[in-house]
Each structure stands twice: as structure tokens, then as C-alpha cells.
Symmetry: C2
Amino acid sequence: MSVQVVAMQDHRTAAICGLTVPVTDLSSLFHRQPIERFEPGRAIFWEGDEAADVFEVADGMLRALRLLGDGRRIIVGFLRPGDLLGVSLKERYLYTVEAISLVQLRRFPRRRFEDEVARHSNLQQQLFARLRDEMTAAQDQAVLLSRRSAEEKLANFFLMMRRTENSQRTSVVDLPMTRLDIADYLGMTIETVSRTITKFATSGVIAAPERRSITVLKMETLRSLADGDESGQWVPSRIAPARYAAASA
Amino acid sequence: MSVQVVAMQDHRTAAICGLTVPVTDLSSLFHRQPIERFEPGRAIFWEGDEAADVFEVADGMLRALRLLGDGRRIIVGFLRPGDLLGVSLKERYLYTVEAISLVQLRRFPRRRFEDEVARHSNLQQQLFARLRDEMTAAQDQAVLLSRRSAEEKLANFFLMMRRTENSQRTSVVDLPMTRLDIADYLGMTIETVSRTITKFATSGVIAAPERRSITVLKMETLRSLADGDESGQWVPSRIAPARYAAASA
DNA sequence: CGCGTATTTGAGTCAGCTCAAAGTCCGTGG
DNA sequence: CCACGGACTTTGAGCTGACTCAAATACGCG
């Protein structure tokens, strides 16, 4: 089975200033590459295409998606500035990636990318770190999808979008994607997404003045709606509910 | 956010026989370690524990799970012989891992594991490959969870369990886990799992004589029930349904 | 201003959930 | 060897939240 990396979060924004830097940083590989622009809706590459290049997102937001045989669409993730995409390490892209907003990318040949990474162990380290984050994202999505109610899913989604924002914890959450994108990411319908947002707004948890952004008014309420673990805070108790008691000794 | 690897598939069963082998292979790190046994239901480690060791599964099946705040349980994955677990590269385990059947493991100190991997670039390569597979598994689960109907989910689950079997494509699928495990993996209830299995059996798609295994009678029907892409075969058409037409040129 | 797309709102249906109870499997002790 | 107990599984009945179909409304662009 073919495998690839969709996107990888970039935490530590390296503080490299000016000078011609040796290859000490993954993003430094992309620095010299020219910016390419993609209009909203444009595909950067398609599921099944030969994985010729790797990209770094310089600006804008993208969606990574898979189409199922019956026409259903699954959004695997949203990509933001700093994310890498197309790091396949295999021969073909596993997902289609499309621009949501106006997007700016830097392109790097995959072959050379792999050579560089193989040559510099510090780059490997960084790639590892990104892979780990990417994996976490994938599993967080799985957790999100297994949430029972529409309210839980959306509340979690808003928190996630807020957190991934440019690290400043503002209560304003940008939603450049459409309701359909959100629906296909959360495994629900566009109508239910809309209704649930309306419900949140009506109950005063959020304000939704514009189409493409919401403002969180009652963060704590939103958190409790999101409920459950919400990745990061350990439930101190180790005692599983009786339902899950160990089968034997 | 803390990150870790739950499990990583082992494809290429290295054909190393006898001799004292230099560290050319990830599993070779574990070869000298003594076997540890875990009874069904026993936890190998808990979510939040300090990630002190890495393990290789020698025999048996395990489940990796997360408990949500409200008591719900999410099974993140099932682990089989050859899988690694606890490769956190961070300080804490992100999941609880429990034995389903009688399990045999080899333990290796995480610190030393990381040293070895950092020292040998071929080990890094292998770790990469496993990380990629692990990621794919995580995303496959997301796809599974976003499947609409119970029938689709279960059909896909059976195909997945069959495929991961010891590479021989038998029509008998072992299910050492309980219905509850399956339910928590697929994001449904135990009752619906049971009803759906009964339905499959009644319609002659599978036979379920024993509790812990099923036999696929009509593979093609099961596939069509699983429907959609079923990871691996590209939908040749690049034409998205009108619903998903690109927003602009 | 008019059109096409995106979003919201409405009404009815149903798959899967919940609650409840019966049935099955298996190990233990008399 | 069989009865008993506990856990797991299946089956039943009713309810409900999310889906489907349908229509109205809002937005953005030429």
C-alpha cells in the first residue's frame, strides 16, 4: 500500500536571519525556491499522481481530501503556512490537495528532498518530529470523528482551529473553508453543520456575524460542549468504568 | 502537545538466521531481550505514564485506547506480532495499551532505542517506513469512522482484519477482540455491531459459527458492502461530482 | 441588478442509540 | 459431572438526532 505524508506542522519557527545558512533546517531547503500561487479551488496535485515534488505552504489554506468510490468526499486535513505537503517517500500522492484560499507555495523536487534528508541527520530529526505531529493530527481526527453528537464535533473543531491559529489565542476563529468542507471533515452533512452553528450562536456560545469566521463568546461552555479528553489534559483517574474492567487478573 | 507512535507495521520480515547480527534491523534490537507475558486484559502501560520502554510484539493481539473525559473509550488500533509500541520519542505514552489475547513482548529501554536509531541511519530509514505505515493506519481509521452506515464500517473492518492477517489471504478472519472493542474502534454500539454481524450471516455473506472468528463466504459481496475506495485502488476518473466542482478556474 | 453558489431553514424519515431482557459461553466449586 | 456465576453476546422495542428532500435566503461578482 502506498503511503505518504499529507502535511506536517511546523512548531519551532527557526530564528534564522539573513545569512546564507547551511542546511540546518527543513524549511531552509525551500527558501530559495520561487513562490507559486494557486487560486481557490485549484488542485496542487491529485490522488494517484506521481509524487514528483514536495511543497511548503507559505501562505493560505488548503484541504487534503480523498474521494470514495461512491462519490463521497473525505477531507483528511487542512493545511496552513509552515506545513509541508507531498512528502510521500513513496511513488504516488495518496490525497488530492486543493487551495481553499489564495495560496502561496514553494516547490522542491522530491528526489532531492529525500537526498538532503538522508544526508543530514538533523533534517531527519526534524522530519521525524513533523511525522509525529502529522500522525497525532490523523489520530485526533479519528477521535473527532468518533465523537457522538454534532455539537461535540463542531465544538472540538472550533477549538482545534483556534489552537492551530498563529499561536495567539484569540477568540476569533477564521474558517476559510466552506460548510461543505467542514461537513466532510467531521463526517456530517452540511445542513447539520449549519444548524449546529446556528444553535451555538443562538445560545450565545459563539457569535457568527460573518460567513467565514466565528467569535467564541463563552470559551468554557464551548469546552464543556467539546467535552471528554480534548487531547492534552490527562484524566487523572486510572480507573476505567466497570464496562471496561479488565477481563482477567 | 505530546506525541507518540502507537504501533508500526512490520512488512519485510528480515531473513536473519542464527549469527550474531550487527544492528542492521529494528527488530534485531529486540532479539536478545527476554520475552514477557501479559494475560488478557492486562495493561502494558497507561496513557500518561512516563514512556520508559519500547516494545515489540512477539505474539498475541493488543488494543491501544484512549479514554475520554465522559467515560467513553476510543480504540485507536489493534496491535499484532511484529508491531512496535511505545515509540514515543516524547516523554509520555499517549495511549493505554492492553493485551487482548495472551501476549508475548520484548522490552527495550526507550533511551537506548533512540540512541541506536540516531546512530544508525538505516534504522532511521526503517523507523520512517514504519511511521508512514502507522500514519496510514491512523488515516484509514479516520476513513473507516467517516463511513456512514454500520454495514460499511463492519465490512471494511473485516476486510482490514483479513488483510492484516499473516499475509495469507484466507477467508477465515480471526477476531480475538470483543464486540465492545470492535464497537469502540468503529464508533458504534455493541448492539449495532452484533445486529450487523447477524445480518451479514443471515444474508449468507459470512458465516459466524464461533464467537471469535468469522468466515467470509461471498468476498465480492463483502467488498461491495465495504464500497467506496477501499484504500488501494484508484478511482480512475478525475472528475469530481458536480457538488465538489472547483470554486474557480 | 441579476445570476450562480453557498448557506440557512423547514418537515418528515429512519438508522442507530438506549433501555431491557433473554440467551450463550466458560470457568469454578460442590 | 453438573450446578452456579459472571461476562459476553444476541434480540426486542421504542426513541431520537442526524439525514434526506425541498425551498427560501444571503452573498459575491459581472
